[in-house]
């Protein structure tokens, strides 16, 4: 049973444990419930983006639209929330559905442009990301939209077992993502397309439909990230999704999702997000000067990818 066991698949978890031990050894405060809650708050919106992009990477494509989609969903959520009375009780909950529907629609549009108009996903999604940011600037006039509803903000301020509610929301959609990946036809088709698209197509996998659905699913997860960003910061603007593109793809790869497709999945995205968030938190906690943090993060990412991905069977990299 252990003949096919690959130590490489456990490496991301080992990397995470080593990092936790390392930071704890230098500053014991790192290993505390309060700090884990802080890491979880930072990781929650970020995890939603990483799960979304993982579905696309597994399919062998790439999605770079997340910054625009997250910002636009967050701003649409805030405007809708204010339109429906500015509190969750008065009808603000409709805004939750509005934002999620928008994310799914925007993702589907992104997928349609890529798959139907035959534009490489790299280019089409990047362009859709720019469109999203541009639309956000137009909607907000370059300003900030604030949400001051104490009930909605309980996602950040109300804690159960030491963790804010938003962490449980993220955990719920993490499990949903795992189920989609493992238990649905869509989930299995993503791996079929990522492994060998021509074979999948010949075997009757509806490639076009699957691609559009995958991008819609990613868009849905980006909209969740947008809502959690508003829960975390109480505001939305055109830069609400800033930095998430590079970080989420980095996290997926560090966690063991291979950019050439069909390898890794939602669980790897979780581990990758935790690795990146732990590094970012730990560097401040152990007192690393800010000007070397970017360099250290980059170096650790390379080390993590070397340790956690199986590259022996890769014939080429591009």
């Amino acid at each position: 049973m252990f003949r096919n066991f690959d130590i490489k698949s456990l490496m991301p978890i080992i990397v995470l444990i080593v990092l936790v031990v390392f930071f704890t050894a230098i500053n014991p405060n790192f290993f505390s419930l309060r700090n884990f809650a802080r890491i979880a708050i930072a990781a929650s919106p970020f995890l939603m983006v990483a799960i979304g992009v993982t579905f696309i990477i597994v399919m062998g494509s790439i999605d770079l639209s997340m910054e625009g989609t997250v910002s636009l969903s967050a701003v649409i959520f805030c405007f809708a929330f204010l339109y429906f009375g500015g509190t969750l009780a008065s009808g603000g909950w409709i805004a939750l559905f509005a934002a999620m529907c928008f994310g799914m629609f925007y993702g589907a549009l992104n997928g349609f442009i890529h798959a139907k108009l035959l534009i490489p996903s790299f280019m089409s999604s990047l362009a859709m990301g720019f469109v999203g940011i541009g639309a956000t600037v137009l909607l907000t006039g370059g300003g900030i939209v604030r949400i001051d509803d104490d009930v909605f903000r309980m996602l950040l301020t109300y804690r159960v077992q030491g963790f804010p509610l938003m962490v449980y929301v993220a955990a719920f959609f993490l499990i949903a993502g795992l189920l989609i990946q493992k238990k649905t036809i869509l989930g299995r088709n993503l791996y079929a397309i990522g492994g060998a698209e021509d074979l999948a197509s010949a075997s009757g996998v509806p490639v076009l439909k699957t691609r559009i659905m995958a991008f819609a699913l990613a868009g849905f997860y980006y909209s969740l990230a947008g809502i959690l960003q508003v829960a975390k910061l109480g505001q939305a603007e055109s830069v609400t999704g800033a930095n998430l593109m590079f970080l989420s793809i980095t996290a997926a790869v560090v966690g063991g999702v291979a950019l050439w497709g069909a390898i890794g999945g939602v669980f790897n995205a979780l581990i990758g997000v935790l690795i990146v968030t732990v590094i970012n938190n730990g560097m401040v906690v152990i007192g690393l000067p800010d000007y070397i943090q970017d360099g250290v993060l980059g170096a650790l990412v390379i080390v993590a990818v070397i340790l956690s991905t199986n590259r022996s069977t890769v014939k080429f990299v591009k």
């Binding site: 909607l139 370059g142 301020t157 910061l233 109480g234 007192g287």
Partner: protein
């Protein structure tokens, strides 16, 4: 839909229409100079000089305020604000220079221009082009340290910039007072290599020099970003915990993140200072969540830059007869505190003060210093 979109579309329509009118008028005026010249606005307020503001774009609240200052000056001459030509460089130094040359050529050198040259090295070719064409220009923000108006001549009227050091120091002193003169401070900074980030940190350090009982626990960059500031602040709480008695932020956006990170922990009443004087920050000062922010009056800066160029052009003053402190000077800054936030909001955000544009250096904060 936001009114911004409507305003934006309306503005674009108007500027396109004006462009068409201007082109038509330009052609006819050159063909029939006698017919148009006496009745045109040129004869009344311009003193013969066409007015222009050259900048990147007005999408941010800050630049919108700068340009509105230029328009207020034009209106103070009894003209419509559309008489000011907007030379939008879209973050291209080449376009900035080309637009200014074209503007001067069209007006036979009779141009008074205010300009942010997009990047520092571009300021020299721009002011030299204006000098060679016989026009007048004031610059703001971008200029290399070795370029001075007095070396170029009367064509290069003045340069206006803002220093973050002194106002940031004032904010830090207020913060230290609030902390009772002792305890630990953390500084949440901008992108480390940005000049404003460096100046604002230097301001804090100046204030700390006279306050030996206050310790600067840590300086962490959050790249001007709200999300990153929230995450960095949370990490700092793990490292320093209760030692942190005050937070000094290099801009408003990062202060918003800090406030939320503290809110997540149930910490209230921590004194926090910020910088920029954005409307949201002023509201937070009024609500007691923020101790202070700094406002730099971009409306006045945008107006006075154009006023100086135009008044030098019309001969209202001669730049070379003015001292250097009138040719390279810092713009004003106002510390917004809980005591005056409501008054400040009423005066500067809900309405715009009317300035006397002939009081040319009334709000200057002194001659620009180079380090």
């Amino acid at each position: 839909m936001s009114t911004f979109i409507k305003d934006f579309i309306e503005r674009e329509k108007i500027s396109r229409r004006n462009f068409l009118f201007a082109s038509a008028a330009g052609i006819s005026a050159s063909a029939l100079p006698g017919l148009f010249a006496p009745s045109s606005a040129l004869a009344h307020g311009h003193g013969g000089y066409a007015l222009a503001w050259s900048y990147r774009d007005r999408a941010s609240a800050y630049w919108n305020a700068i340009v509105s200052g230029g328009e207020a000056y034009v209106e103070s001459l009894g003209l419509d604000k559309s008489e000011m030509v907007n030379l939008i460089n879209e973050a291209s130094s080449e376009k900035s220079l080309a637009d200014i040359k074209a503007f001067l050529a069209k007006n036979n050198g009779m141009g008074a221009i205010a300009c942010d040259a997009n990047d520092s090295p571009n300021a020299r070719p721009v002011v030299e082009a204006v000098r060679d064409a016989g026009g007048f220009i004031s610059t703001i923000w971008n200029k290399t340290d070795d370029l001075h108006p007095w070396d170029i001549g009367d064509s290069y009227v003045a340069h206006l910039s803002w220093s973050g050091e002194k106002p940031s120091e004032d904010a830090a002193r207020l913060l230290i007072d609030k902390m009772g003169g002792e305890g630990g401070i953390v500084h949440i900074g901008g992108i480390p290599a940005n000049i404003p980030a460096i100046e604002r940190l230097d301001g804090l350090k100046n204030a700390l020099n006279d306050n030996p009982n206050v310790e600067l626990l840590d300086v962490q960059s959050a790249d001007w970003d709200t999300t990153k500031a929230a995450d960095v602040m949370a990490s700092l709480l793990t490292r320093y915990g209760d030692e942190i008695k005050g937070v000094h932020c290099a801009n408003d956006n990062m202060a918003y993140g800090v406030i939320e990170a503290l809110k997540a922990e149930g910490i209230t009443g921590m004194p926090i200072t910020a910088f920029d004087g954005n409307p949201e920050a002023v509201d937070l000062v009024m609500g007691g969540d923020l101790l202070a922010t700094v406002f730099t009056n971009p409306h006045w800066g945008g107006g006075i830059a154009l006023a100086l160029a135009h008044q030098a052009a019309t001969g209202a003053f001669v730049p070379s007869e003015e001292p250097n402190e009138h040719r390279e000077f810092y713009g004003p800054s106002i510390l917004v505190t809980p005591d005056d936030a409501a008054e400040f909001k009423k005066t500067y955000l809900e309405s715009t003060p009317t300035y006397d544009w002939t009081d040319r250096w009334g709000l200057s904060a002194g001659q620009i210093q180079y380090k």
